[in-house]
């Protein structure tokens, strides 16, 4: 199954010219209550200057994939049981901790949802940014400070010089998120992973932060992986979308294709269940039931108990993520029918 579900990868570990590729990644959490299969063969890639949105609900494995890429997966309980994460064609999962550390920050950086707990409360914001220049670039204290102030300025924090010596709690939520962006971009990473960067923010601030991220990405030609559950934000900024469900990619498509004609019933269900501001609808069309327990994923397609299109085959065979052309892929036995319907 792994071979056919891995687009763009030949399994030999040969460089494929991709910036960052996740290839048939498998992660499980070993807990007292049993083994939860959190990632069950995830494959995606991101190139320079491109925004890949990873869309999914809680427990779909979108954040765990990101943590595995960054090498910050909590082990135990989390264990990688298969697959590769290749950066410039080299598998990071087999690298030494020292090699991985060098990639972190300079190669791949990450920003988190909760900026208050991601920043260290006992150091000033400026210190935490400047630290990277001292440790990684060997700069002097004063040079590092100068660079840190430049970074704060770049993320449009007013009065950057004065703000340098503030502590995280003295910043508002939006400002803290800006500071975290400054911190993650300090070493000029090639890939930025943004894990729900605006979920905790108000809409007007969310718009500011998404603008800023887009602007910085264009300037630096970064690849960006945007992890989110918000179908609105995705429609605004993504180039491509990978939809995750129960630890697998169930659909991958260009953003326009995905919203126009989803090729997986789960994606269709998600799109139907968002209340739209421009129409006061009657009843929302919901997805029935609940996401599966990851310790006990249903046989066959994990979505089958909730799927309105489910047939006997869905309970027996796991549908592979098949290419449909045009960069589209769907892991549904009836993907063709979905795409070809009017």
């Amino acid at each position: 199954m792994s071979e056919q579900s891995a687009p763009g990868a030949d399994g030999s570990g040969r460089p494929s010219g991709r910036l960052l590729e996740v290839d048939d990644l498998r992660v499980e959490f070993r807990t007292r209550d049993g083994v939860a299969k959190v990632i069950n063969g995830v494959t995606y890639h991101v190139d320079a200057g491109e925004t890949l949105a990873v869309l999914g609900e809680s427990g779909s494995g979108k954040s765990v994939t990101a943590q595995t890429i960054m090498g910050i997966l909590d082990t135990p309980p989390g264990f990688v049981t298969g697959g590769q994460v290749r950066f410039h064609g080299k598998d990071m999962l087999t690298m030494s901790p020292e090699q991985r550390r060098r990639i972190r920050g300079e190669g791949i950086a990450m920003i988190f949802q909760d900026s208050l707990s991601a920043l260290n409360p006992v150091f000033t914001v400026g210190f935490q940014i400047a630290e990277q220049f001292r440790v990684r670039r060997g700069m002097s204290r004063s040079d590092a400070k100068k660079r840190a102030i430049e970074m704060l300025d770049q993320v449009k924090i007013p009065n950057a010089k004065g703000r340098f010596s503030n502590y995280p709690h003295q910043f508002s939520g939006g400002m803290r998120q800006r500071a975290m962006i400054a911190m993650s971009l300090a070493l000029d990473p090639e890939v930025l992973i943004a894990d729900e960067p605006t979920t905790a923010l108000d809409v007007t601030v969310q718009a500011q932060i998404m603008d800023l991220l887009g602007e910085l990405q264009r300037e630096r030609q970064m690849g960006m992986i945007l992890i989110t559950h918000d179908l609105g934000v995705v429609a605004d900024v993504a180039d491509r979308i990978a939809v995750m469900y129960a630890g697998r990619i169930v659909e991958e498509a260009d953003v326009y294709d995905l919203y126009r004609k989803p090729a997986h019933p789960y994606t269709l269900g998600l799109l139907n269940s968002i209340p739209r501001m421009d129409e006061k609808g009657q009843e929302l069309r919901t997805i029935k039931g609940l996401p599966p327990n990851l310790m006990n994923i249903p046989p066959g397609c994990a979505f089958n108990p909730r799927c309105p299109m489910a047939q006997p085959v869905c309970r027996e065979k796991v549908p592979p993520l098949l290419q449909l052309g045009n960069g589209r892929a769907s892991a549904c036995h009836f993907a063709e029918e979905l795409v070809n319907r009017d």
Partner: protein, 338 residues
């Protein structure tokens, strides 16, 4: 539809800011709600939107009589709720119930679902005599779409969406007339959120409930509300029917808020004109003079710093707006129908 169930008049709620441990000194006031008036009619849903810190949750707490107002009144069918006590207060509490945001912390983890939903009957035994309680609770579980067999389970055995259903069942137990929903779906995933919203609509139709629906998600509010009130920094800046607010907003803040909502349709990316607000919401301890929105408003003039704009109907508009320069503006981008 004409009868006012709840009337709020010039409601003010300030919290003191103190300094010192032994000799507490009040050094300021957090003006959480500062002069808010509206009414809630029988059977309608009033949506209250605004960003964090605008006072919407404080409003909920005062409506529930969990906090005494600093000024102004909340009238339930003409009675001032802060003046009630004893039996009258208990009778009032039966009629107004609350559904809270966080389904994880609002349910006691040591109580079974049966005890959680049945607890209101302990205080109001007239609703359900002792012998009939378990069957009542089972009825309620069934009503909110949970399996009545699960009556002996504990909250941790349920998912977030199911817990929110438990919270709703508990609020419904006493057959109230009004339910105040404080961000009831914001902690839930999209697919689950839709299920809970449908449930709230179904229950309203079935029992003729009135909702005060507080949320920061404008699409959710539009979907459920008949009328919508927009709050900013303790003030109500605009109020009107769902259509008036979303199609013909006249307050600059409402316009900015609506324009910033991401539309789940990539084809409107280019055509969308987003009004970018600068900066953050000012502190409610020392709000700006005059109009509180003026520090972030692109229309601000001298008069905005001097005079507090009243929430009133202005020429060229059909609903009240608290802006000296209120005017219509096309905001909502309709997505293309595929």
């Amino acid at each position: 539809m004409t009868e006012n169930i709840i009337e709020v008049r010039d409601l003010v709620k300030h919290y003191p800011v103190t300094r010192g441990v032994v000799f507490k000194k009040t050094i300021g006031q957090v003006k959480a709600v500062d002069g808010v008036s509206f009414e809630l009619k029988a059977g309608e849903t009033l949506g209250v939107v605004g960003e964090s810190g605008c006072g919407k949750s404080t409003l909920a707490r005062v409506l529930m009589n969990l906090e005494k107002p600093t000024g102004g009144q909340v009238l339930y069918k003409g009675q001032d709720i802060s003046k009630l006590s004893g039996g009258a207060l208990r009778r009032l509490r039966r009629q107004i119930q609350l559904v809270m945001q966080d389904p994880y912390t609002s349910l006691n983890p040591r109580m079974t679902v049966g005890d959680l939903i049945g607890e209101p009957f302990e205080i109001h035994p007239e609703v359900a005599p002792r012998g009939s309680r378990r069957s009542k609770v089972k009825e309620l579980l069934d009503l909110v779409g949970l399996n009545p067999e699960h009556i002996n389970r504990y909250p941790h055995q349920f998912s977030g969406g199911q817990r929110q259903r438990i919270g709703i069942a508990r609020a419904l137990a006493l057959r109230p007339e009004v339910i105040v929903c404080d961000e009831p779906v914001s902690a839930l995933d999209v697919s689950i959120q839709a299920q809970v919203m449908n449930l709230l609509e179904k229950l309203q139709a079935e029992f003729g409930l009135s909702y005060v629906f507080i949320a920061h998600d404008l699409s959710v509010v539009r979907h459920l509300s008949d009328r919508v009130a927009v709050m900013y920094l303790g003030k109500m800046v605009e109020i009107g029917t769902e259509d008036e607010i979303y199609e013909r907003p006249t307050h600059p803040y409402t316009q900015a808020l609506l324009s910033a909502v991401p539309v789940p349709d990539p084809t409107v990316r280019q055509s969308k004109a987003i009004i970018r607000l600068q900066g953050d919401v000012p502190s409610p301890v020392s709000p700006p003079s005059g109009c509180r929105f003026r520090t972030r408003c692109w229309k601000a003039q001298d008069i905005c710093a001097q005079e507090v704009p009243l929430l009133q109907i202005r020429p060229g508009s059909d609903h009240p707006s608290a802006c000296h320069f209120a005017e219509k503006r096309e905001i909502v981008v309709t997505h293309e129908v595929a």
